[in-house]
Amino acid sequence: MTSTQAQRGATSDTTAIRAVIQVVQLHKRYGDFTAVDHIDLEVGDDEIFGILGPNGAGKTTTLEMIEGLREPDGGMIEVNGIDAIREPNRVKHLIGVQLQTTSLFDHLTVRELIALFAALYDADTSSERIDQLLALVSLEEKSDARANQLSGGQQQRLSIALALVNDPEIVFLDEPTTGLDPQARRNLWDVISGLRAAGKTIVLTTHYMEEAEVLCDRVAIMDTGRIIACDTPLRLIQSLEQEATIRARVARGLDLDQFRELPGVIDAEIAEDQLSIRTHDVQTSLTALLALATEIDLRLDNLATTNANLEDVFLNLTGRSLRE
């Protein structure tokens, strides 16, 4: 992880990145519903670019328009200099795609599925190549299992292997870890980091802020069809000028203002019995909070502080929580 962190620091300082994907004023409507609302995007070479947002934000629609699966109502998409709207088939050869939900053909083994998809791209179907792909996603032991016998995490790894059969320069992963347990999620993060190390550009969508923070070099935060922020996770968090959130369980019916007036506090709120205070100076605010608690004889249960994260960025930008 340390090398990943260092690399991320480096890219975040480089502003002149070569754009392999360029999206300008892309939009898509379904009847009265605007799924994607005139967005601009630029994805650089060899980066992991994340699109973070709640369900229904337009992440998948955006991805599928770039992949050539959906026709945009307007705008421009360029992938490696190719007009993806006019020539989707040329783009399909360059990219690898993992869709949000794909169950695969029953009755075929993992090995057969990889060989089949490789053949569909007219790519290398030799058993050495398939072994290599299996190793890349750690599915060697499952090579003769049927796809429907795999666990959720193994299925996701298989669909990543299928996204790599044509040795693409750019890989699209649509919510690759949704529905996985924490262990399987971490395994998958390692696989994805490995891909970047192998020189691939990765565009992924997620609604897990932790995933975006750990994995992505740059993150576009998307909500109701619009991109509301786009930068490195670090800069997005720094832009908040918020250091942390102090949380505690308290008695109901307290006056909020007494917390808002504490030094260093940006804002405070109480949901049921859960007090959360956002602060740009944990030490000052926490000291003052404890003093106040002693003064008014307030019991603070499960007192904890959390460093500011992308969740807070989203909350700050939209006034809503990412999980809603």
């Binding site: 869709l99 053909f105 057969e112 089949l116 569909l120 791209y121 007219d122």
Partner: protein, 358 residues
């Protein structure tokens, strides 16, 4: 070529490994053939025992006539011997001739086995019909037994010969309509079609691969079913088998394309199965698979004529057991080709890559 060949190969693998589909495609029609073949083969070979055939000229004439009918297996012997054979279950009916009131007349006593009512009923009615015909002729003419008219309307076509081409047509329809419709709807429901769309592999080739594998399976069906019927029941094959196989391909294409139409309409697999069965089920009974529909009531005729399966069953039967050639079947073939073309055009217009989210 490589992508297409791989896709075809993958389709074969999936079909062979799909036990459910294998059952419907092969075991199901095989069961029909074996079951109906054994059930009805005995009925159509009526064992007749005749005693006292030499009573006079009339009885000799009748016995001679009976022997010429291929559906009857005639044995002659003494009355006691034949009745014993009937009791042992070796005869369906026994006819005992005795001298009649006039020299040229005979009295025929017909014995049958009460414990085997179905079989003896058929034998009895066949013999009855035969004897009635003789008596009827006797009323008209001056002489009693110049019975040269065609006695009973038993066709030389045995039931099994009628059945097998029908079963073949039925299984072509089933795997085309039901097999293809539910496969494609499942692919769409599971997002497999979208996953294919994300690759450079064109839709048309995906469909071609599916059709190619289904056609091969239809041919395998034909070989197995015809082979089975030949082996077990000595199926009569008068036509050229190459023509039969060509007709299998033409018929399959027609029903595959109807399956495509259904897959475009159905929202999920259950709906596809229900819709396909709603089409297939009436055709099973009204298109002449199990029994001839030529003699069906007049009001039913337009309905059976609206069923594509009828034309396929007719063509298969003509080509297999009636010695017809493909040009003879131009009308049935035309119907199949029209069905295939209309179906394919319709389904390409209606094709959807993904299940509607609405």
């Amino acid at each position: 070529m490589k992508p297409l060949l791989h896709m075809i190969l993958a389709n074969y693998r999936m079909t062979v490994r799909n036990r459910m589909a294998l059952f419907w495609n092969l075991a199901f029609p095989m069961i029909f053939i074996v079951l109906f073949g054994f059930l009805f083969s005995t009925d159509f070979e009526v064992d007749i025992g005749i005693a006292g055939a030499d009573t006079n000229a009339t009885s000799e004439e009748i016995a001679g006539q009976l022997e010429t009918i291929s559906a009857f297996d005639v044995a002659t012997g003494t009355a006691d011997g034949e009745l014993q054979a009937l009791e042992d279950g070796n005869r369906s009916v026994v006819i005992v001739f005795e001298p009649g009131e006039q020299p040229e007349q005979v009295a025929a006593q017909v014995y049958y086995d009460e414990s085997n009512p179905q079989q003896s009923q058929i034998a009895l009615s066949a013999v009855q019909q035969f004897l009635d015909q003789i008596n009827l002729d006797a009323l008209d003419g001056p002489r009693t037994v110049t019975v040269t008219t065609a006695p009973v309307s038993t066709n030389d076509l045995r039931y099994i010969d009628f059945l097998v081409p029908g079963i073949l047509a039925m299984s072509i329809m089933n795997s085309g309509l039901i097999g293809l419709a539910s496969a494609f709807v499942t692919y769409r429901e599971k997002g497999i079609l979208r996953r294919i769309k994300a690759t450079p592999f064109p839709l048309s080739q995906f469909i071609v691969a599916r059709i190619a594998s289904q056609l091969t399976i239809a041919l395998a069906q034909a070989v197995v079913l015809i082979g089975l019927a030949k082996l077990l029941f000595d199926l009569r094959i008068d036509g050229n088998l190459i023509n039969v196989f060509i007709m299998v391909i033409i018929g399959s294409t027609a029903f595959l394309s109807l399956g495509f139409v259904i897959s475009s309409f159905a929202k999920n697999q259950e709906a596809a199965d229900a819709l396909a069965n709603a089409f297939a089920f009436p055709m099973l009974f009204l298109a002449g698979v199990f029994f001839p529909v030529d003699s069906a009531p007049a009001w039913l005729q337009p309905i059976t004529r609206a069923m594509p399966l009828r034309y396929l069953a007719d063509a298969m039967r003509d080509l297999m057991v009636r010695g017809a050639t493909l040009p003879d079947e131009w009308f049935n073939i035309l119907i199949m080709v029209v069905t295939a073309t209309v179906g394919l055009l319709l389904s390409l217009r209606l094709f959807k890559w993904e299940a509607s989210t609405a």
